[in-house]
Structures are given as structure tokens and as C-alpha cells.
């Protein structure tokens, strides 16, 4: 039997936010503001999701001269599937509290 992935609440937050608009690219700072996660928590999550293939990243050319290029992120197809599974699991937990262990 495959081991169930243990996903933290913070990772779920990131996945849920990215799932709201799966085709859009996000910057790290915007994600941090949208999820309320500090950079020290957010970036290790992004690195891990990226390493596991759930996230696609790319470099965005600067819009203003003299600025460095920025990293942008969005869910990969497997990331979308993971985020949807997580969302369904979350809903299931929220709607059936009587099934929780005492």
C-alpha cells in the first residue's frame, strides 16, 4: 500500500491559492501576501513542490529596466490533481466531523 503524503496546512494553503487560477503565473511575494505565509515558510514549500514536480517555475523578464528577472510559479498537471485531491479531502473533513476520531 502506498504511503499517504503528509501535507502540512501551510502547503494546503499554497495549493489552494494556486488552484483558484491554475493557469495564472504567481510571483513569490504575491503568493506570500495572498496566503499570509512568511517567506521563510513559503519558499521551502515552493522548493519542495517544485522538486516533486507539482509546480512549474519560469523566469519572467523584468518590466522595468535595471530590475532583476523574477521567478514565477504555477501548478503542473500533477499539481492540479494534488490540489484538487487536497481540496476534496479538506471538504470531506469539514462536512463530516462525526467521522473524526475522538
Amino acid at each position: 500500500m502506498a504511503r499517504r503524503k503528509n501535507i502540512s496546512q501551510q502547503t494546503r494553503k499554497v495549493l489552494s491559492k494556486l488552484l483558484e487560477s491554475p493557469n495564472d503565473w504567481w510571483h513569490g511575494y504575491d503568493l506570500s501576501k495572498a496566503t499570509g505565509l512568511k517567506s521563510g515558510t513559503l519558499y521551502p514549500i515552493l522548493v519542495r513542490l517544485h522538486d516533486q514536480g507539482f509546480l512549474i517555475s519560469d523566469w519572467q523578464e523584468p518590466t522595468k529596466p535595471g530590475r532583476p528577472p523574477r521567478h514565477i510559479y504555477r501548478l503542473s498537471p500533477s499539481g492540479v490533481a494534488l490540489a484538487e485531491t487536497q481540496r476534496l479531502e479538506q471538504r470531506g473533513t469539514q462536512t463530516s466531523p462525526q467521522e473524526r476520531p475522538a
Binding site: S32, S39, Y43, P44, R67, H71
Partner: protein, 193 residues
């Protein structure tokens, strides 16, 4: 204040980029670019500090935790030793210096200082300094132990006990330092959140 924030932010980003290795260089650059986008200086500083932590911990999370713990232990032991030196020198509260020869004060103070230096060196990953300081503590403790036996003072028994504690601490520190060096130079470790 804004200038100070900006200077601190730039320092943190420089340190982060300087410590990034090939495993997380790209991520460090991505984080630095995000810091660059934030207009509010205090917010940029907090964001940069988080990024700095993420980069450092992604490389050697266990080394950082272990070295901080070991360093704190040695600094704590140095504090106890220094208090002991003050106590027998008659400076600290409850001191009774009537039976204590001066060399004991020098011994405890020197060993305490050596442990403190070793602890700080470990916290800041200065491994050779840590080894040298621990070796100095070993020599000083050996000298103290030997002198206490030779002079056969009333202190001999409890000096032996303290020296024994010192050797225990010293052995733990050396073993932990070896482990840290292995972690630092061993296979790259990636963080899992």
C-alpha cells in the same frame, strides 16, 4: 530608519546569495528579486530574513540546529565554569575563598573562556577555532586536575569531580563536532517541510 532597514536588507540579501550553493542558487536569486520588488523597507527586511533562513536551512538544516545546540551547551558550561571561578575568587555571592589557592581561579576562568570560545566558534561554523579552543580546554583541565592531585588540597575531590564533568563535556563536544563536520561535508541534504 529607512536607510538602516535598506542597509540591513541589502546585507541579508548579499549574505544569502553568498551562501547559496549550486543546489539552491537559482532559488536564492529568485528570492533576491522578490525582495527587490518590495517598496516598504521594514517589510523587505522581514521578507529577506525569511528568504535567508530558507536558503541556509535548505542546505544544512541539521547542521545548523545541531551546531546551535552544541554551541549553546558549551557556552552554558562556560558560564557555569566562569561562575565557579568568580565564586572561588570571592567575587560571586556565597563565595568562600578562604581555602582556595589562586591557581584554581585561573584554571576555572581559563577553561571557562576556552569553552565559551569553542561554543561561539561552533555557532558561527568556525570549526578549526572550535577544535583549537576545545583542545585548549582539555589542556587546561588536565593541568588543573594534575595540580589538584599533586598539591593534595581539600579541593582535590570536588576538583576531580568537576574535571570529570569537563571531560564528559569535552568528549561529547568532540564527538558532536565530528558529526557536524561529517554532515557539513557529507552528502548534500535537502530539507523536507
Amino acid at each position: 530608519m529607512a536607510k538602516l532597514d535598506r542597509w540591513l536588507t541589502n546585507t541579508v540579501v548579499r549574505h544569502m546569495l553568498g551562501h547559496a550553493d549550486k543546489t539552491n542558487r537559482e532559488w536564492a536569486l529568485a528570492m533576491a528579486a522578490e525582495v527587490d520588488e518590495i517598496a516598504a523597507d521594514a517589510e523587505a527586511l522581514l521578507f529577506a530574513l525569511g528568504c535567508w533562513r530558507a536558503v541556509l536551512f535548505s542546505q544544512r538544516e541539521w547542521v545548523i540546529w545541531a551546531s546551535t545546540g552544541l554551541g549553546a551547551m558549551l557556552i552554558g558550561w562556560a558560564g557555569a565554569k566562569t561562575y565557579f571561578a568568580l565564586l572561588i575568587a570571592g567575587i560571586a555571592p556565597m563565595a568562600d575563598s578562604s581555602i582556595v589557592p589562586p591557581w584554581v581561579v585561573v584554571w576555572a576562568g581559563t577553561a571557562g573562556t576556552a569553552y565559551c570560545v569553542a561554543g561561539l566558534a561552533i555557532v558561527f561554523s568556525r570549526w578549526w577555532v572550535a577544535m583549537a579552543a576545545l583542545f585548549a580546554a582539555l589542556v587546561v583541565n588536565g593541568a588543573g586536575y594534575g595540580t589538584s592531585v599533586l598539591t593534595d588540597t581539600e579541593l582535590t575531590l570536588w576538583l576531580m569531580a568537576i574535571a570529570g564533568e569537563d571531560y564528559f563535556i569535552w568528549t561529547c563536544a568532540v564527538l558532536a563536532l565530528g558529526g557536524l563536520a561529517w554532515l557539513r561535508h557529507g552528502p548534500a541534504r535537502r530539507m523536507t517541510v
